[in-house]
Subunit: 376 residues, 2 copies
């Protein structure tokens, strides 16, 4: 298991990163002094090295490691680029300033000029691979390298967060965020601390519209719950925050559509995803449970039958894929759910719970959570 | 001009909406009592009725109106659906509860059952047309009808907002939002009030990553500015909030990429867009000025030359479209900018201003705003 996956959460990830960046540099200087070509070691991140950790219940990388060498024609370019990224991010930490991957690209372009391929640093492209190399090699998160990532998702509830930012402490009270909620940042570790927490559980709601509905009902107050929406698939910040709240001992309940996309959102929170398996336990929450909506809900709430809608091709395809994942297949309840969708070609949205009355969604959640009716 | 476009901002848009919904219903009952088929009148929203209001400087609908009749075979179905929407939203206002278009769809489906076409209420589809009919016919916004819309965008700066929400007042201090900023809600009118404002201007920054950079520099504090990012194209809430801040007398400066998408974001804020022309002045800010990035910046900041990147086909195409809009063409500075892009096939991103040092972006903005170097 890589250092990254073993590392426990800490408040000074950026200082750890700085330390490891320095060691990496020192090590390469030593290699050169010893007449060796400089190299660094990293964990293999390809699918072949992705493992479902049975004991832990999350996706992680296996033991395969690889060396990236400067004196290797096919690796030389990306080796240099990784080092340039390392040098820049070291500077960012020392300056105590943050930027995005795009900002990093322009800093490198300013230094290296025309030689730098712009496609390399589009957020969707190979630049991620460079950053991931560095994360895996150093055993730190990109947020620790002072790289901001896409942020999405909001929170409300009985929690107070101390945000030490740009030289000032501010205290965010999750009960005083009105209609907006607190926008969950990309880095929830460095210079950030949960200073008060008076909740019984965390409820993660797929859609912002449903979050707004529950927020208006003051669901978080009545239930003493932390109410989070990732607004669809979870950002890194949201996944990290849920992990931290689980580490505080709070149960995590996830509420999504009953369709393949909703389940994907759930399973990414719970076990992590194949692509981001290198992040390991720090970004997964195996303790998470699925509160709904389920096809089986139809048996209990009769009116839902007429509120199902036609599943799309993408839903069917994803359900077929997921049913074969061993970590899903082993749960009979999940297999049953997925098979119901494949058989009926129907789906059910969380929004449907507003059918009889807008406030019904809260009643449904209270009932299911109260009775402990979850899928694993 | 429709009532909607004439209407001045008010804190009780939902009460106004309720009043107008009741009148609409009463009027139809009268029509029936007089032996007429019920009908309602709305403004024609097709492109042929979109006008650029020269005096006001924004896109709006012209004078063409049309009647939607129940006793007209081709209109009967959508007439009924519009009435069903009217009845439901009236109930939402009376209950003082909010939901999304999707929530509305399930309320209708619960009542009407299988007859309701689900595609009609996908957010991207014709459902918008039904809601827009109602907005235009009643002269109110959908937010006044207690329909929440997609929200996006954050704010920081010297402003205090009172949010009366779900029975409680909370005060949002834009100086105390840390790294996150205040998430701008979909409705910034009803039960919401700016109670303190100590700013010299508003800076709208296209990208969240750049907003985060400027927030970390405490740009809003040093400059006494309200710092807003729409995170790309502006949501309705963001456009409405900028309009309200302009109405408080603050200059509005917009900072986007120097590419067709960036300009589109700017022009949507300034004049509104063709599709949403029915919203008129309430959602446009003709006073807005463009601070950058511009192709002409290269003449002043020499290093930017090597930080330009290749324009994409979509940039070129949009630049070609925009150069022909009369309200853009009339500004020689804009024509020059667009022509430079078409000629060089290059673009410039706001992120490039981090090239020499991460904090340069703030220096650039201070200099340009200080000297008043804007495009109209």
């Amino acid at each position: 298991m890589s250092d990254n996956q073993n590392k426990s959460s800490n408040l000074d990830g950026d200082l750890l990163a700085l330390d490891r960046l320095r060691n990496m540099g020192r090590h390469m200087v030593e290699q050169i002094e010893h007449g060796e070509g400089p190299a660094f070691e990293t964990v293999v991140r390809s699918k072949g090295n992705v493992i479902f950790d049975e004991e832990g219940g999350f996706l992680r990388l296996g033991e395969k490691r690889e060396r990236r060498k400067f004196l290797n024609l096919s690796q030389s370019k990306s080796f240099m680029q990784t080092l340039a990224v390392a040098a820049k991010t070291k500077k960012f930490i020392e300056e105590d300033l943050h930027t995005s991957i795009r900002g990093l690209y322009y800093q490198l372009k300013f230094t290296l000029g025309e030689d730098l391929d712009e496609n390399l640093f589009d957020e969707q492209s190979e630049s991620n691979a460079l950053i991931e190399d560095l994360e895996a090699a150093l055993g730190v998160k990109r947020e620790d390298l002072h790289l901001t990532t896409d942020r999405k998702g909001v929170l409300a509830g009985p929690i107070v967060i101390k945000d030490h930012f740009a030289g000032e402490d501010v205290f965010i009270d999750g009960r005083k965020q009105g209609r907006s909620g607190w926008a969950i940042p990309s880095d929830v570790d460095n210079d950030m601390e949960i200073v008060e927490l008076d909740a019984k559980y965390v409820l993660v709601v797929e859609k912002d519209a449903m979050w707004q509905r529950l927020n208006e009902d003051r669901f978080w107050q009545k239930e003493k719950a932390i109410l989070i929406t990732p607004k669809g698939q979870s950002s890194r910040g949201v996944r990290r925050l849920i992990r931290k709240l689980a580490d505080k001992g709070l149960p995590i309940y996830v509420f999504t559509d009953c369709d393949a996309w909703g389940w994907y959102i759930y399973w990414t929170i719970k076990t992590g995803s194949m692509n981001l398996a290198y992040l390991g336990r720090d970004f997964s929450v195996p303790e998470a449970k699925f509160v709904g909506v389920t096809m089986s809900d139809i048996e209990h709430y009769d009116f839902l039958k007429k509120l199902t809608i036609k599943a799309k091709d993408v839903d069917i395809k994803r359900a077929q894929d997921m049913i074969n994942y061993p970590w899903i297949k082993k749960h009979a309840e999940w297999e049953r759910e997925l098979k119901m969708v494949l058989k009926t070609k129907k789906k059910l949205e969380q929004d449907a719970l507003q059918g009889p009355r807008l406030t019904f969604v809260g009643e449904y959640l209270r009932e299911k959570i109260g009775k402990g009716e979850f899928l694993p």
